[in-house]
Symmetry: none
Subunit: 201 residues, 4 copies
DNA sequence: GATGAATGAGTGTTCATTCAT
DNA sequence: TATGAATGAACACTCATTCAT
């Protein structure tokens, strides 16, 4: 004879929208966006379909929201590192290493990001790409700054260097396994190191 | 009022299985494996569903076959470059640049490869991963050879270097557009250059 | 220009699951399980496929549910007759006649039962056979009781006697036509009589 | 470099039509007519589809042919026993026991017979039922002969007695397993015995 | 006699979304 | 706020049969 309120508390420790996002993130990363049904998401979140459609306009919206969180987080961190008061080599190294660490710490978001982006609706995809570009350009500006200052080689266009580095970041979700040989920090240091070594004049 | 013979010639210039593979490759790259229906594939190939299932056991098989072709091609080329009679820096640079060129020349296969692998059935996925590993290991051996010879830095584990490079290769299908600013060869030279510079002792 | 409410009432006089079961029973009996398409069932029930799969996991489930109802009904009736307070000859005769009557009254279920059981999935088939066995054993116990009491001949193993009688029950759906020469009751009396006569010491 | 003729001998020890019928019988009994594909039949027989359609007009024809063989065999045997020079009790008992033995010896045909008859095309079904009726009537005549002679009870209409017995014959394929507790002969004797006991005046 | 590629209509099932309550 | 029954279009796949060779 527990009161409805009591019964509910069990499954409602987190607000419903967050529970849905968490469940969707796990499932999308696990089986991919298309292979995850709305039914599975609501079951994993312990709510009903009606509730999902109350908070999100569509399955697509869920994916978009997941992207939004990651993009905002990464942009904030990049901005912080890039605007720091330190030599450009230091700032680039820190930013390059940090994106590796936060990617590893949110591997689920990362796999979703690099595998499911093209399943977003046309309009939302455009939006995500625009934010992505902003991120990419901030990173490129850092490299160009170093090149102009003569501390980085100009042998390779800064654009390509950014893609070189981010390729390896995207690739992390393919090979990195938590509990593996290296800690996230070690991987990050190595990858940042490779970047900086490649940029030696 | 064309004769049956003429009608048929239009659609039969290439054998049916090849036509199906070509159509599937284009469509999978375009909209992703899950978003491509068998109906779309057979329509694009100008045959009926029955014909597809006469030659391929499943939609999955089609994907596996596409992978198979790419994997065989890449392994052959890597082996050729790695076994060449040249200093290890030369051999690594050539192999690293070549995989970029052939990836760009088969961008469709590449996007499929890096976006749809996890949609393959469990068994076939295992098989592909095994072949993939073989490729990876051949590449790593080349780096280790250079490290032992003292021409490459040992600062980064060879494993990680391979992942660093292949991250950028996978990433190509995300940003490279045919007819862009750089030719495939130029991109390849730059990326191989970055790899070699990062490996300087 | 009937109001939506009125339109709905026409098709909603019985709940959807019951309507589906009724339609499926009629069709399975008529053309057999494999020859009946899900499309035909939902059309006959006046609903859509989605509704069917909302209530039943599969076409197979529908068949299983039909079996379940018959099995439960027959077991209940057999138990009631077998546990009655009467001489064993009376109890056996009543049970033997009753199963004939209820089989005739549910000839559709009966034809399905004896023609489509092997089309049930492995797991469900096992379950049905287990319930079937329970029924068979209760019936056999009755015969053995009479044999021990000396009122039935022991010339034939009780097992075989049960199969003899149930063979003729199964067979009813092959030859009995409602509105035929004999009423269900008459057929039942004759068949029970044959059984009892065969068991005379 | 074996000659075609030699290669062929391996798989052609029996003529193709027989091989097809044997394979079809096994498969139809195993999984049912509808669940057996023409492809499975030709593979089991070691021939191609073209060959099947060369000898048989349709899958349906195969089933009809299987029926034909069984019906002819059973009719012949029944006629032989019924026309024998012996008292009617003896002749009925022998016929009743014999149909049990030959049914057990051809359990595959029997299961097909009682489970797949309704999957035959309308026309062929009519034909089979006609032959079936002829068989049934010969059997019934035997019972009526005994009833007129006063050696069998007239309590039950002969028709119903025939159905009683044949129900148990059909049912054999449900419960009899080769290598079981009783030999075919023992089962036959018991079942014939039950029939004769039921008919005692 | 025999092949096997090809057809085309059909199968059971899934699923994002809606809406009366 | 939230439910869950219901929709309807789409999905991958099957199969008896035909026919040019």
């Amino acid at each position: 004879m527990t009161s409805p309120a009591t019964q509910r508390r069990d499954t409602t420790e987190q607000p419903v929208p967050q529970r849905l996002l968490a469940a969707a993130t796990r499932l999308f990363a696990d089986r991919g966006y298309d292979r995850t049904s709305v039914q599975e998401i609501v079951e994993a979140a312990g709510v009903t379909k009606g509730a999902l459609y109350h908070y999100f306009g569509s399955k697509d919206d869920l994916l978009h929201e997941i992207y939004g969180r990651v993009l905002r987080l990464q942009q904030e961190r990049l901005d912080a590192f890039a605007d720091a008061d330190a030599p450009v080599e230091r700032r680039l190294r820190d930013a390059a290493a940090d994106v590796v660490v936060t990617t590893i710490e949110n591997l689920d978001d990362a796999s979703i990001f690099f595998r499911s982006m093209h399943q977003l609706g046309e309009e939302k995809q455009k939006q995500v790409r625009a934010e992505r570009r902003r991120y990419h350009e901030r990173f490129r500006a850092l490299i160009e700054e170093g090149q102009k200052a003569g501390v980085f080689s100009t042998a390779t266009p800064a654009d390509l260097v950014v893609d070189y580095h981010f390729g390896s970041v995207h690739h992390l979700s393919t090979w990195y396994r938590p509990g593996g040989r290296m800690t996230p920090r070690e991987v990050a240091d190595h990858l940042a190191d490779l970047l900086l070594r490649a940029l030696r004049p």
